[in-house]
Amino acid sequence: MQYMLLIHEDESAYAGENGGAVMEATLAGHMKLMEELGAAGVAFSGERLREAHTATTIRYENGGEGTLHDGPFAETHEELGGFYLIEAKDHDEAVRWARLIPIPGKGAVEVRPVWQD
């Protein structure tokens, strides 16, 4: 079964004085996670996303055409920063992998099962 692990992190953690070091440590965490996924034979994919300010949102009120908005779909302190799509046997295994995603400071990882017939 596939699970989407959505990474919501505070982009500002990567700004400022320590920003570079935080980024380096976080990337190292991701490298380690990907190595472990590979070593465990877990089928996965994933991407890092550009910052939220580069996002464009098409917002729908009553269906129709939708209007373009500058920015992410919700203004929060945690932005969608990337995702993994992994194959796991059940919810708990997916959560175990999700816990290995490095989050600098405040943030959240959402685990969502992928719709399968």
């Binding site: 079964m1 046997k89 059940d90 919810h91 708990d92 959560v95 685990v111 969502r112 099962p113």
Partner: protein
């Protein structure tokens, strides 16, 4: 009657602290160490006293729990897996116990809804949503792996403890929540039976049995709540007290102290009034000291202040209450109710009146409201 058992909790605790000072190897967590050692001594003493008391007692021997708890279902492992699944931390906390009651105990949605003060359609939706998540997200139907065991057991215990609180949300355990307490007991007994090595599971069962031993005494003939310290002990159920004690014995034999066992010990200390005619508040206070270290919540702090007021003086209890953040507890009924009680003891009538009024303004359930109103009316001008 030489039933001095829980007095020994205090002595045992100080003896344990002394022993800690003599210990050669450094103790990593002195509070925890003293607690374990104290419990061991206290409970050893308690067991001994219980044996003696049983030998002396004219009360009929408790005849086991056979008819208190009976499980017709033949596959225990499935029920444990079910319980873990229903109480999975990935499910909304308010859905867990509802699901467990529905799935494991077969309680009707209508009855669960009444117990949780929810409408039947809302409760039906809550249960359905939880079941749908279990299915769609593939929440596993199995006992958790060793690495997650502790957290998951805690989630199950918490769920059942919450249910016990709901069962007695109204003092009588009647009305909307009627029939919930026996189901909680059933689940607690199931848990203790299926996880015999988990001390807190036995602690929970002990707590449930001891709380239920007072079932017939919690309200008077006028449906007014009777506070624990004034409950008519002749109405307590001796067999449940004995069963609760036996469960606590099994818990302590496992040497894993925990909050539920401490809480059960406190209830046992109150239950001992059944035999001794008075409450040993010093022992109760010591136990609350231990509990507060493990569970630093407002409820525990307030109950500890009440015990302190009985063991020492009302002023001491009030001083502790006043140190709690009153602003944060302004909407917390037990805070005002306890404060009113202590102010009466201290003879501070006007403040007591204000505290009772504050408590009553927070819409207590009917039996408690009647009690608080009676206390308020009984204040001399």
């Amino acid at each position: 009657m030489q039933f001095r058992d829980l007095d020994l909790a205090e002595d045992a605790f100080s003896a344990a602290c002394e022993a800690a000072l003599r210990e050669k190897a450094p103790i990593r967590d002195p509070a925890a160490w003293a607690f374990v050692a104290a419990r061991r001594r206290a409970l050893d003493a308690l067991r001994k006293a219980a044996r003696e008391a049983r030998a002396l007692s004219t009360q009929p021997e408790a005849d086991g729990m056979g008819d208190v708890i009976a499980f017709p279902e033949p596959i225990p492992d499935d029920r444990l897996r079910l319980l873990f699944t229903c109480c999975h931390p990935a499910l909304a906390a308010e859905a867990r116990i509802a699901l467990a009651l529905r799935v494991i105990c077969g309680v009707s949605v209508a009855r669960i809804a009444r117990a949780f003060l929810a409408t039947e359609p809302a409760m039906y939706q809550r249960i359905t949503r939880a079941k749908a998540k279990i299915r769609a997200a593939r929440i596993p139907f199995e006992t958790p792996p060793p690495g997650e065991w502790g957290v998951r057991v805690c989630a199950v215990l918490e769920t059942l403890e919450t249910a016990l609180g709901i069962a007695y949300r109204n003092a009588a355990g009647e009305g909307e929540t009627e029939g919930l307490a026996p189901e909680v007991e059933r689940l607690a007994a199931l848990l203790a039976e299926l996880m015999p090595d988990e001390a807190e599971a036995h602690g929970l069962l002990s707590l449930v049995l001891l709380v239920r031993s007072r079932e017939g005494a919690r309200v008077d003939g006028k449906d007014t709540m009777v506070p624990l310290s004034q409950l008519d002990v002749t109405l307590w159920n001796a067999r449940r007290i004995e069963a609760g004690r036996a469960a606590l014995d099994r818990a302590t034999a496992l040497r894993q102290p925990g909050a539920l066992q401490t809480l059960a010990t406190i209830h046992l200390a109150h239950a001992m009034r059944w035999r001794r005619g008075r409450t040993d508040w010093t022992a109760v206070l010591r136990l609350y000291d231990m509990l507060l270290a493990m569970r630093p919540t407002p409820v525990v702090a307030i109950n500890r202040a009440v015990a302190l007021s009985r063991a020492h003086s009302p002023e001491d209890g009030l001083a502790v209450l006043d140190e709690l953040e009153a602003a944060r507890l302004a909407d917390f009924l037990p805070f005002h109710a306890a404060r009113a009680d202590l102010l009466v003891l201290a003879g501070r009538r006007e403040e007591a009146r204000a505290a009772y009024e504050a408590a009553l303004a927070l819409a207590p359930e009917a039996a408690e409201a009647r009690f608080l109103a009676a206390q308020l009316a009984a204040l001399p001008d």
